[in-house]
Symmetry: C2
Subunit: 293 residues, 2 copies
């Protein structure tokens, strides 16, 4: 038994060293859980400062530590109920749980995973002002672990290209290979995208071009598209739905775009023709088989 | 006559306010010249600290101001001879000079434009540590002005898409429209690219998809791909030639990629099949017509 618990940053540094040994393994889940507990403990001592939300139907606050302010937190999605995590760990460790996390539905999973991600991000915002890399890497650990657990296969981050006289390794986002004559998942993970999102479609285009259309299912997972003006304390969502439609028509086809905090402007793209399929990330756990056939 | 000359940063701020009025106009050239003179004057008082170059055949130094160090400067390309600029301004203002800048060749132009860009970048490195945006925007002013002057047309930065029931404006890099049944140039401008370069091919793909292949000539202009380890004072070039070939085969075709400080690893791509056409930027001034037919 540990005498002094690790801080969430120490959990993160341990993840950095050990994560790749077995991405889907339970050791990673345990470390993610530790960091969630530690982040909640850190945040519980702080004030929740209301922000002015310019996002219709959503309420945001920030954790404040004196003059320092965290990023925006969606009040309806965030829960500091650690019992949710304990139940999740228990459900995951149950036999055959991959096809149905007992007691969980998509909404409950989306809220829990959002809370794990955003609590660590806010903790880092307050202890390392301006550090975007640590929250981004933690979010990659969280999502790629859950994806790997759900698909029961570990990812790779580069792929061999053999093309006539060319032979090279192409660095990629996470690739999950389900085996011969089954789909491969192409998983980019971003805390937010803005105008950089075109990279996701471009990488999908390269995979389609090199290996053939529809062999890789592009399923990016994004945390949020909020932007906070920390002086005026105003939260907005930066969305480019018309551009997304053009990318989907002219660069490549993404199979799903998953969000933890789904922007309303993108949610609407599910209901225009041709649709983009934009879903809360919790739904992935219940549709992974349906995507794979 | 001005009593107190503006600082290069004041020249830049004036450019920000007035640049768009007439991108190709001589007022912009004059302000760029003022900032070059001011940057050279600022740098002339500083030490040139040799860097350890891990780039074969290239020597780099940095300007140092006490403990502060500028970005790497290619010693063979940099010249603080302001007479070069004076001659350039004179050549530009000569009648019919667009088809032949008298007394200038591609190498001399590449060195001069490199010197204008890098001297302003080093000035900002030393007065605003960590500011990447100001050098990037200045470089956009410099290159888009010269491009506009050479093509004798001002650029736009967004383009209307009409596609069945869709109607939207797509934000773009600089687009130069030479008119009906003539090419349009698509000009991305970057101080360096690294892994973000895939965006350039992706934007070209969108233009090809929306308007038809080969209607837009993609001609990005890039300053350098050097990276400096400021503690160990080592300069390297970050190049991904195998990936560039895959992008050119599978995303879209770029017509030219121009560099001010051309990386050797990319220069070689001119001589493999299928080639990528990677040239020193000075060559653009002599091949603009050949590209346009």
């Amino acid at each position: 038994m540990r005498v002094v618990p690790r801080t969430p940053l120490e959990d993160y540094n341990l993840l950095r060293r050990t994560f790749g040994r077995d991405v889907k393994g339970s050791a990673n889940l345990a470390l993610i859980g530790d960091s969630f507990r530690g982040s909640l403990a850190f945040l519980s001592a702080l004030n929740r400062e209301p922000l002015i939300s310019q996002v219709a139907g959503k309420t945001y606050f920030a954790f404040s530590d004196g003059a320092k302010l965290s990023r925006a937190v969606n009040a309806a999605l965030f829960s500091d109920d650690i019992a949710q995590w304990t139940a999740f760990e228990k459900a995951i460790n149950r036999r055959n749980s991959r096809q149905g996390l007992k007691g969980f539905n998509a909404n409950r999973l989306t809220r829990l995973i959002y809370s794990v991600a955003i609590s660590f991000c806010c903790y880092i915002d307050l202890i390392h002002k301006g550090d975007q890399k640590t929250p981004g890497t933690f979010f990659e650990f969280l999502i790629s672990h859950l994806f790997a657990w759900r698909l029961d296969v570990n990812p790779v981050k580069s792929i061999q290209v053999l093309n006539l006289d060319m032979e090279t390794y192409l660095p990629t986002d996470f690739i999950f290979d389900l085996g011969k004559e089954r789909p491969k998942f192409h998983l980019p993970v971003k805390t937010s995208t803005r105008e950089r999102v075109i990279q996701v479609w471009a990488h999908q285009r390269v995979l389609d071009g090199v290996f053939g259309t529809a062999r890789f299912l592009g399923t990016p997972v994004i945390l949020t598209e909020t932007k906070t003006d920390s002086v005026r304390k105003i939260v907005t969502e930066i969305c480019l739905p018309a551009q997304w439609r053009i990318y989907q028509m002219h660069i490549a086809q993404l199979k799903r775009i998953y969000y933890l905090d789904m922007p309303a402007a993108y949610e609407k793209l599910n209901r225009v023709f041709p649709p983009l399929h934009i879903r809360p990330f919790g739904e992935f756990f219940f549709e992974a088989e349906a995507l794979s056939v």
